[in-house]
Subunit: 314 residues, 2 copies
């Protein structure tokens, strides 16, 4: 049965893993370099389009990812998988170039308040700094992606006006970047807003590689991903096991969970090309790495095709 | 901005609370009758279309709801809110008639295996028994709703064929019932399946009152609700705080969370007529009643319009 709601079942949806960057950076205990490398090596064979390996931020700012070089140099880079890293500034860019990466992922916030709180500078200063990084990337033939934090809403200044988001998209698009990630940093987006944003950005910049980055902070993560898919988006960030938190809401979940996203899209007949069983095994082991239960519902319940024996009354 | 994805923003979405039945029946400790009554009285002013108060099952089978009569007789019934109860058989129906209810909610499973496991009889025997209850309801001018468990999938026998679901819908529809609730009892539905089911059942039986009942067992709860809304469904069961579990998957969540569903639909511009702040207060207090943290992400993070102060780096 076909319908106005269903995207083409033959369309590939590209999954991008962020757990070793977005997830690990928020951990309280340092995860040994060899464990990071071993996890990435397993994930590299799970069908991802892209893996965000680490961040070349100052080790003082994010000590959890101080081993970015060692991780990049230690992993087996599988053909077909892009290995991207977060780059905050020229210094980080130079470190990344030294070890070789497939993509620079640059971050700034659409919200001025959030950019000040998170990056300790105004958006204009961020834009100026990132422009230098883009130039350096291009002179080294490295693709650039811009992740725009608080694209949908900012926990300090409220809902993000679409016009404000478009202003920064337009300015970055002029710099010859390859793609933009529209980030719902603290889980404030709703499916109607997602639809409007996705349709607008794609219509204005059809040649950019668009990624949507959702958080499940208020339970809407997969609903927003569904709205994005139905709006033509084919590329998503997600985090194994749903690892990662929201610093604004203690106890709340963070990034959408990779295995739950893949499980849903696969059931819908979309082609993620992902190995769901590998994801579930890695997610289970990740619980041992971080020493706690992860928010993945799928890890607890098992895939839909898991067969249970007759239970007590429900 | 209007689009093929957006339902009419003027359309009302009807919310039906199941926490005091579906949620409480799974608790290990008996919740005092006066606490049940107090909670329902608060919820009665929160905008619900319907509240499932209790179950007139044998007190031996479900001791947690042995006080069904006392609860029904103790609550303040607010005009505009329908008070429904679960009725398993003629004996339960007579008990409910004695105290006066607005609707009988009758349950059977589309899956033969699940019906045997849950109700200890085959579907044909269930249908025969429920038919007698329907006749009794109609002779007492009480509306009847049928909740069809495992409409999308059964944890023991797999995905439910749509043809099998339609068979039981057709047979019940011939009995002159008012509505049918299509239940994803253990969270196995996916948005594509939801769309197909919702479109099919409404097209075949446009005059029945359709309710969708989702569980978030595998994280797809709100995505499935979104798919149902876009398929024309305007009535949902949900449970305050997401209370309720899945007996097949220890630790996994159960029913979709009322406040998260309402929060999402309200943000989308749909009209639930619900008092979200009342829901959040009741959900917070419910944690004290059951003595543990509930799976409501919204309760932890707060509504989208909650303003946070500048945090540390994220």
């Amino acid at each position: 049965m076909t319908s106005h709601l269903s995207p083409s079942p033959h369309k590939r949806i590209y999954i991008q893993e962020v757990v070793t960057r977005d997830g690990f950076q928020a951990e309280s205990a340092f995860i040994p370099t060899e464990e990071k490398i071993a996890l990435i090596d397993r994930l590299s064979n799970a069908g991802y389009a892209k893996i965000e390996v680490s961040s070349f931020t100052s080790p003082k700012a994010i000590p959890m990812l101080a081993d970015a070089e060692a991780v990049m140099q230690g992993i087996n880079r599988v053909p077909g998988v892009e290995y991207t890293v977060l780059i905050p500034n020229l210094k980080g860019a130079e470190r990344a170039i030294a070890v070789g990466v497939d993509e620079f992922n640059l971050v700034m916030s659409v919200s001025e308040t959030h950019n000040q709180a998170n990056l300790k500078m105004g958006r204009e200063d961020s834009f100026k700094g990132l422009s230098s990084v883009i130039d350096l990337a291009h002179s080294n033939k490295i693709a650039v992606n811009i992740s725009l934090s608080t694209s949908f809403g900012c926990p300090m200044s409220g809902i993000t006006p679409l016009k404000e988001l478009m202003h920064w998209i337009d300015r970055f698009s002029e710099k010859g970047i390859r793609g933009i990630t529209v980030c719902d940093t603290t889980g404030m987006a709703n499916p109607a807003q997602v639809q409007e944003v996705c349709e607008t950005v794609q219509a204005k910049h059809p040649n950019l590689q668009w990624t949507l980055h959702f958080h499940n902070t208020r339970g809407m993560g997969l609903a927003n991903a569904l709205a994005a898919v139905h709006s033509g988006i084919d590329r998503f960030d997600s985090s194994l096991g749903g690892l990662g938190g929201c610093p604004y809401a203690p106890g709340a979940t963070g990034n959408i969970c990779t295995e739950e996203l893949v499980h849903m899209l696969d059931l819908m007949g979309l082609k993620t090309h992902m190995q769901i069983d590998t994801l579930l095994e890695c997610s289970k082991d990740l619980q041992n790495i971080v020493g706690r239960t992860l928010p993945s519902q799928l890890l607890m319940a098992g895939k839909v095709d898991r067969v249970y024996k007759a239970p007590c009354q429900i």
